[in-house]
């Protein structure tokens, strides 16, 4: 069961990463800085548990808070640019953060070894879970508590006025502004929430792998973050989960037995998925079908 518990942890962490981009995508913005917020959460929480002996929960919240603060800081200048310019701006920020951690040394003596981030060599010994007797199934449950909480929060947002506002901005910024929606508040808040969720994901990632380094937070990680909600569809938070299961569960782990062929199939199957489901796995029509099949009444009905 060890493998399945580990896989569930990976799927949970990637779902959080995908959801961090989902909420930003709802406003029509595309951020390639999610890996940066993920890195901030990973390094901050790792340092708090390893160097200063914090409990993991407050350390995670600290990572999320700093992720949110960094995202809000990026969000303000992002108001002046949109579309491809925003992609480039967030990409530059993401690379800047990665390079910061690439050069970031802060080690302290703990017992007979030095611990803490050591630039390009990374940050090892983030062993909160095993050192505190957490078993794999307990870690899996812990990860999924956060996944469920975040999914519930975003699902609730989606059904609230705030969610409608996010989608209104995403559909037509000008129209949204003309009916009195404060674009600054909406975009910056979406970025901050996305940053916080990415920070949470990064915190869990650091404690899952026990070793982090700058290479784990490159642009490819940000591409995956936005790919999950796009492949899954923006109609529902569950689309992101479905996409993560497809990518991490099926393409990465499920096809591992294919050896070298797996890498060839990886890209091909994503293209096939996008061709078959151009609006994502869970688009509006699919969601309506689900509701009909399970007898769930629509809010608008």
């Amino acid at each position: 069961m060890e493998f399945y518990f580990g896989l569930a942890q990976t799927i949970g962490i990637h779902t959080l990463l995908g959801l961090s981009a989902y909420i930003i995508l709802l406003t029509g913005q595309m951020s390639l800085a999610q890996a940066a917020f993920y890195a901030i959460g990973a390094y901050v929480s790792g340092m708090l548990t390893v160097l200063w002996g914090w409990h993991i929960v407050p350390a995670m919240f600290a990572g999320a808070a700093l992720g949110a603060a960094a995202a809000a800081a990026v969000g303000f200048p992002a108001l002046r640019v949109k579309g491809l310019m925003l992609v480039i701006a967030t990409l530059a920020f993401g690379e800047g953060v990665r390079l910061f951690f690439f050069n970031f040394d802060y080690q302290v003596q703990k017992g007979n070894i030095k611990v803490g981030p050591l630039g390009g060599e990374g940050f090892r010994q983030i062993r909160y879970f095993p050192e505190n007797g957490w078993t794999s199934d307990e870690v899996m449950l812990f990860v999924w508590v956060f996944v469920i909480l975040v999914m519930a929060m975003i699902w609730w947002f989606d059904r609230s006025r705030y969610g409608s506002v996010l989608r209104a901005v995403g559909d037509d910024e000008l129209a949204a502004q003309s009916v009195g929606i404060n674009l600054t508040a909406v975009k910056v808040s979406a970025m901050a929430i996305g940053g916080a969720v990415a920070g949470l994901a990064g915190s869990l990632y650091a404690h899952y792998t026990t070793h982090i380094e700058h290479l784990a937070f490159g642009v490819l990680q940000s591409v995956f973050a936005i790919a999950y909600p796009i492949i899954g569809g923006l109609a529902s938070v569950f689309g992101t989960l479905a996409a993560v299961i497809f990518v991490q569960g099926f393409l990465v782990e499920g096809l591992r037995f294919l050896g070298d062929w797996r890498n060839l199939l990886f890209g091909l199957l994503i293209i096939v998925a996008m061709v078959v489901r151009p609006n994502g796995f869970l688009d509006g029509q699919m969601l309506r079908n689900f509701k009909r099949w399970f007898g769930i009444r629509s809010r608008n009905a």
């Binding site: 390009g120 095993p130 792998t209 784990a216 569960g249």
Partner: protein
């Protein structure tokens, strides 16, 4: 539609099923090789896989592995699993292996995978509070200095770069006294290369009385080295120490040739003493000196290289460590007295016995001679200095 969905679901479930690899009819002991078979480091995995297959064949030709009850078991290497040099995937691979009847894993290729992997293992054996995995890993390739001490379940059969470069600079000091200065070239974003320059080469050059003039940096995926070569030209060192893998080492050497930069001596990274370098830049690598824990200098080494070639791999210091690992494991298994039973309690008990046997190992028989095992579960392997000559690596000096 529902039939298709059912078929897809069934294929998905089947693909996630952990395969055991054990045959019901005969006793087997399973080892699980893994590493990278993707991207620029792909050849490392291909060579290791070939060497392991070849070595396992030799073990079985010689009768297999003797169990505690005196019976013989066939050694089986499960499918070589690709971790894509990615920490998350490496962890997933090992968790998958732990769910099988494998008694030990051989891998990984990349140091940035080895570090997190060792981190998820139990740090100290018998520490009931530590819930890390209790599974032995004997690493063949990941060479970054000082990793095995992370967990008492981690072992490495990789050469000590500290010892080898110390010896190389010492030898150069006595044989080439006219060389006074050293300049570094480092693949800064790759854990092994970076540590090899900053922790090993630079330190050892200083310790042997060389003046270190500085260093030029580049990244693993870089393809343009003009700026770095200009920096080297400006520094005008006697010795250029390159801490980089074959792909960027060749890129740098070709750019040096283009700009007419020719230090008196070029020292390379251990991992560069491979076939890839000689395929990519044989002329430019002419004269480059590298300490290596493998060269086909004796009957056993030549035989191992030939058998690996039959499995479509090439012999170098990394793949031949994989070969050696199979025999180290065989010897430790026989000393441990394994039950060979396939119930989960027996498998775990056998893993523990094997770990203890590996930990108790003081020396191992390698292809270049006897390797000593250190307290930190690392190897102190014999080595030679090789240099590029006529498109092949040939032994320049045997310091031992």
């Amino acid at each position: 539609m529902s039939k298709i969905a059912l078929a897809v679901a069934a294929a998905f479930a089947a693909s996630l099923t952990v395969s055991g690899g054990a045959l019901a009819q005969e006793k087997t002991v399973v080892i699980a090789p893994f590493g990278v078979k993707t991207g620029v480091l792909r050849l490392f995995g291909i060579n290791s896989e070939a060497a392991i297959k070849a070595a396992v064949e030799e073990v079985n030709k010689a009768g297999g592995v003797k169990l505690a009850d005196g019976s013989k078991a066939k050694m089986v290497a499960s499918d070589y699993l690709d971790d894509r040099c990615n920490a998350e995937e490496g962890i997933a691979v090992v968790r998958r292996i732990v769910g099988t009847d494998a008694l030990v894993a051989v891998g990984p290729t990349c140091s940035n995978v080895a570090e997190p992997l060792y981190g998820i293992l139990q740090k100290k054996v018998d520490d009931a509070k530590d819930t890390g995995l209790q599974f032995p890993i004997l690493t063949d390739v990941a060479i970054k200095v000082g990793l095995a001490k992370i967990s008492e379940w981690s072992f490495r059969n990789v050469p000590s770069e500290l010892t080898m470069y110390s010896s190389l600079y010492y030898w150069l000091k006595s044989t080439r006294p006219e060389l006074k200065t050293v300049y570094g070239g480092v693949e800064e974003d790759f854990a092994h290369s970076r540590a090899s320059w900053h922790v090993v080469m630079k330190d050892r050059a200083n310790a042997n009385g060389y003046q270190v003039l500085g260093e030029s940096k580049w990244l693993l995926n870089d393809t343009n080295f003009s700026t770095q070569v200009r920096e080297i030209k400006k520094a005008n060192p006697d010795i250029l120490s390159i801490a980089a893998h074959p792909f960027t080492t060749c890129g740098l050497l070709k750019e040096m040739q283009r700009q007419g930069v020719k230090p008196k001596l070029v020292v390379g990274l251990t991992s560069t003493s491979s076939l890839e370098t000689m395929q990519a830049c044989p002329k430019q690598a002419e004269g480059m000196i590298i300490p290596s824990s493998f060269a086909p200098v004796n009957k056993e080494a030549k035989f191992a290289a030939e058998q690996t070639a039959k499995q479509k791999g090439s012999a170098d210091l990394h793949s031949m460590a994989s070969w050696e690992n199979v025999f180290i494991i065989k010897e430790a298994m026989e000393r441990a007295g394994l039950s060979g039973r396939k119930d989960s309690a027996s498998i775990q008990a056998d893993r523990r016995k094997l770990r203890d046997a590996l930990a108790a190992t003081k020396t191992t028989k390698g292809l270049l001679g006897v390797s000593k095992r250190t307290e930190d579960r690392e190897a102190d392997k014999p080595y030679v200095f090789v240099h590029g000559k006529g498109g092949v690596w040939t032994v320049l000096h045997n310091p031992l």
